[in-house]
Subunit: 125 residues, 2 copies
DNA sequence: TATTTTGTTATAGAAAGTATAGAACAGTTT
DNA sequence: AAACTGTTCTATACTTTCTATAACAAAATA
């Protein structure tokens, strides 16, 4: 799985890593049960600090996407039915960007098209 | 227009303000041509610092949502056709949250329903 | 016209977040 | 037994967020 970190980006490195791991899972490059690299190995590979990778892993664990087994490693979780609190979190995260799009003149139809297009893009590319 | 700021939130105050102003416009409480309160008046009203409101206004201006006239005030812009770079920005903003939803088991149909529901909610509530 | 109000700019400080580095610990894996 | 693991700790540097105060010049208002 290929990860690209942009040091100059305004987006924190640990967030960039979190997002790209999530996309890797969404795409199918990473599956439930797969182990993620150790924080040390991954950090060395990416050229960043161990603690930065560690922070990303804990962010992913907080989201319910991976499970961290102390002194062992991180494994991608199995997802069954989504609970209400998680659904609400996703809704709260999306809301400001949906509102912004509406204000800037993107109507419901175009917005749904955009989301459909994004889903396809994430699953393939 | 009613604004609620949560000091304890992890979301910066200026971002909370930006998002709520955007929702006010999306809902129709604020229209193109309307003037926003002065940074001083708004800050006093919200109990925050003048520079915090100022930062929010400049964020809104960067998004193309308002226009700031130096020494005069801030006015809500008129929106015609959306340009490609703005559309790309919105797409980039949405992408990680769409990916996260997919990973957590929200399928395309449920995701489109969620977006539809959010649009209705933003426009009314 | 004189006063008030406006956004802007500057300085300053406190607190939190981001990222790095090095080291040590104890449990897991090989 | 040795290597590897996530965890924890200390430390430093930089950026971001938020507040506070002050001054400036242009716009709006009385």
């Amino acid at each position: 799985m290929l990860i690209r970190i942009e040091t100059e980006s305004e987006i924190p490195i640990y967030t960039q890593l979190t997002n790209q791991i999530i996309e890797g899972i969404a795409k199918g490059s990473l599956k439930s049960g797969d182990a993620l690299p150790s924080v040390r190995a991954f950090a060395a590979d990416l050229g960043v600090n161990m603690h930065t990778v560690n922070k990303s892993y804990h962010e992913l664990e907080k989201k319910g996407i991976i499970q961290i087994v102390p002194k062992s490693g991180a494994v991608i979780s199995h997802y069954d039915s989504i609970d209400d609190s998680t659904m609400n979190r996703i809704s709260d995260q999306l809301r400001p960007y949906i509102a912004e799009a509406l204000v800037l003149g993107v109507d419901k139809e175009k917005l749904l098209e955009l989301v459909s297009s994004l889903i396809s893009d994430i699953k393939t590319k």
